[in-house]
């Protein structure tokens, strides 16, 4: 049946499922967890209704789901899955395995806090925990972006200049369970944008005998049959692939804009009301969505402020951010996550990225919304006002501040 371009009203989870269907994923291996489960349920429906040909492996844990995804990818299939929080934690061992083997797998992550105590509600702790395992990491702001980013992510991850897996994240409940209209493209247009996978690994081709993922040594190995890289060279090439992927991420984003007319800033970050000001809020995902509203209120009370919403968290777009922020004066970062024992992760990532800039901007970070605590306009207003005062007084405070805490209402 020929599908035409249409607008449908779906949750973020279903937007992801539609993208996986249209990306013609060959193998999906997954395990249910709140708030991601509707992705795999929807995919089960698609397969049941014959709308999707993928092999669907409903395994007995996320650790196995990730392992099966790796194996299916190494056997030459296009592979995607979805998870949240504890699911991603359980997959953790397989994350550097996938990137080290350069398997272009896509994980949809409906973000959720990590226990204990139990919380099914949203924050970015799971997303942040996957920071140092060599994956590309996107954070989306709405359901259309979830759909669009999935399609882009496959093309980026499968690019022979990249071959790196990617996480496409979106806020649990806030997006995963909220209905929004999205445009769903015609299958033939998607096929033209995203051709079938050409993989550097394909174990199903038994004429090419390979040992995939064996032991490496600290040094390179020289033998009469050839020279094999050491672990160090492998990991260097992963780092280079990630660095170089920024250009490809922009390239794919530009092509997507050309073909489908929807853009996400420069593909790396989005700027909102930033033209006339040197004071900026820096955030991602649901925090950005809320900040879009808050900057208008801040402007109403006379604080000229804009928003930079980060889309690409890994590789961190250091040069592009340095270039963008070099003339800015104040940056206030709102993190829905925390590097425990230090501060919000976006905040210290940005500080590090801007290190050594001449007239580097003042940067102040806040923690907001852990475990699904509401993030309100007044939190942004409070945080920005306080930060601007400190900036004026040239005061640099390293204490990590939580906005929206209700300690005073507790009888401690």
């Amino acid at each position: 049946m020929k599908e035409s371009k249409k607008t449908i009203i779906v949750t973020g989870n279903h937007a992801a499922a539609h993208a996986l269907r249209q990306a013609k994923v060959g193998v999906i291996s997954a395990y249910p967890i709140t708030p991601q489960s509707p992705v795999v349920e929807k995919i089960s429906d698609f397969i049941n209704e014959g709308k999707m040909k993928a092999r669907f492996l409903m395994v007995e844990s996320e650790h196995s789901a990730a392992a099966a995804c790796c194996a299916a990818s190494a056997t030459g299939s296009r592979v995607g899955t979805a998870t949240s929080s504890h699911g991603l934690m359980l997959m953790y061992e397989m994350l550097p395995w996938a990137s080290g083997t350069r398997l272009p797998i896509i994980i949809n992550l409906a973000t959720r806090s990590c226990g204990a105590p139990w919380s099914v509600w949203d924050d970015h702790s799971d997303f942040i925990a996957a920071r140092d395992v060599g994956w590309i990491q996107f954070m989306c702001e709405d359901n259309q972006e979830i759909y669009d980013t999935n399609l882009q992510a496959f093309k980026i991850a499968e690019d022979p200049r990249v071959y790196v897996p990617a996480i496409v994240a979106y806020d649990g409940y806030i997006l995963s369970h909220t209905m929004m209209p999205i445009e769903v493209e015609m299958q033939e247009d998607i096929d033209a944008f995203l051709p079938p996978l050409t993989h550097h690994l394909n174990l199903s081709d038994i004429t090419q005998i390979k040992g995939v993922g064996p032991v490496t040594t600290p040094d390179i190995v020289k033998r009469t049959e050839g020279t094999a890289p050491g672990y160090y060279e492998f990991r260097y090439s992963l780092q280079k692939a990630l660095e170089n992927s920024i250009a490809i991420i922009k390239e794919v984003h530009d092509e997507f804009v050309d073909k489908f007319g929807r853009s996400y800033g420069n593909g790396l970050f989005k700027t909102i009301l930033t033209e006339d000001t040197d004071t900026i809020i820096f955030a991602m995902g649901s925090v950005s969505s809320q900040a879009r509203n808050a900057i208008k209120k801040l402007r109403d009370i006379g604080i000229k402020i804009g928003l930079v919403s980060l889309r690409l968290f890994r590789p961190f777009p250091v040069n592009q951010l340095r270039d963008y922020f070099k003339d800015k004066k104040n940056i206030i970062v709102f993190d829905r996550d925390i590097g425990y024992g230090y501060e919000g992760v976006l905040c210290y990532e940005l500080k590090a990225a801007l290190y050594g800039l001449k007239n580097a901007p003042f940067i102040k970070g806040y923690i907001v919304g852990l475990g699904g605590r509401d993030i309100k306009d007044e939190h942004f207003i409070e945080g920005v006002q306080k930060a601007l005062k400190q900036s004026e007084q040239g005061e640099i405070v390293h204490e990590t501040e939580f906005l929206g805490l209700k300690l005073e209402e507790l009888e401690l």
């Binding site: 995939v212 033998r223 094999a228």
Partner: protein, 300 residues
């Protein structure tokens, strides 16, 4: 009965010479005969173990079929992923997926992934070579370490008997369950050949004597493996879709008087040094019960 003879075994070797296995390693022999039986249309997946070492270094594949290395706990899942991908490509009837793991990777850390794969009826062969401890990391106990055996983490001898993995796998209701032993390579060859033709999950558990781990001279490997069978401790059998077949090398031990005393087996290995009389009695009871059950299953 279609008996395989030595002359029927494929001449082609699937493991290149010069692997890093210890002298007298039964696993290397087991692998050699298993791969001969499986042939070239095979994809292997292997977790962390001595077998990882056999497969050698990056850039040089030691076997003539491809191998996907996979983290310790994931063997059953890794095989499931390969099978799913082959199914997607319509190649699953042509190419056989074979997981090969140690006892630790099977009865301990990998049991969940294996159980899941078996429950799903995944069409693959899972082979466990059982050297009864974590050898690759320096002879620590596993769930498959037998009672009384010394390992580096059971310096006083293991208190509990070996986990009965064969019962666990049989309880999954899978297509094929078999035992084997490194000292009977023709039997191994036959069982892998048979499993290769069957659809569904096939589980083969192979006792794999290990000179440094068990404490005996490398030249004694075949003898030690045989003693496990001759004492009745390790009967060779297969269960095909629930039907029990005692393998020919074990048939005569149905008669208790044909069995060698268990002490012949235990006494030949340093890991059982100083084993208590109670432990030895437990072994005798275990063997008698095991064979009573076998006899019942054959009579039915």
């Amino acid at each position: 009965m279609n008996l395989v003879k030595v002359m029927d075994v494929q001449e082609e070797e699937y493991i290149y010479p010069g692997t890093r296995m210890c002298a007298g390693c039964a696993m290397a022999l087991i692998y050699r005969f298993a791969l001969k039986a499986l042939g070239p249309k095979t994809i292997l997946t292997v977790p962390a173990s001595c077998l990882t070492v056999l497969h050698g270094m990056q850039g040089f594949c030691t076997t003539k079929v491809s191998v996907l290395h996979t983290p310790f706990a994931t063997t059953g899942a890794s095989a499931s992923g390969i099978v799913a991908s082959l199914e997607e490509k319509g190649l699953n009837n042509e190419i056989c997926v074979v997981a090969f793991a140690g006892d630790g990777g099977t009865v301990d850390i990998g049991i969940q992934a294996l159980s899941g794969a078996a429950e799903r009826g995944t069409d693959f062969i899972y082979a466990c070579y059982d050297n009864e401890a974590y050898m690759n990391t320096g002879v620590q106990r596993s769930g498959a370490t037998p009672q009384g055996a010394h390992t580096t983490t059971t310096p006083g001898g293991k208190m509990k008997p070996k986990k009965n993995m064969l019962k666990i796998m049989e309880a999954h209701g899978i297509a094929y369950v078999a035992t084997a032993n490194g000292s009977y390579p023709i039997d191994i060859y036959e069982k892998f050949k048979k499993a290769r033709t069957m659809i569904g999950t096939k589980y083969i558990h192979i006792l794999s004597p290990c000179p440094p781990g068990w404490g005996y001279d490398p030249k004694e490997t075949i003898k030690i493996g045989r003693l496990a069978v001759e004492t009745g401790f390790w009967p060779l059998y297969e269960i095909i879709n629930g039907k029990f077949n005692l393998s020919r090398e074990s048939k005569k031990y149905l008669d208790p008087s044909k069995r060698k005393p268990i002490i012949d087996y235990l006494g030949a290995q340093k890991r059982f040094k100083g084993i208590s009389d109670e432990d030895i009695e437990d072994y005798k009871t275990y063997i008698n019960n095991l064979w009573d059950e076998i006899k019942k299953r054959i009579d039915h």
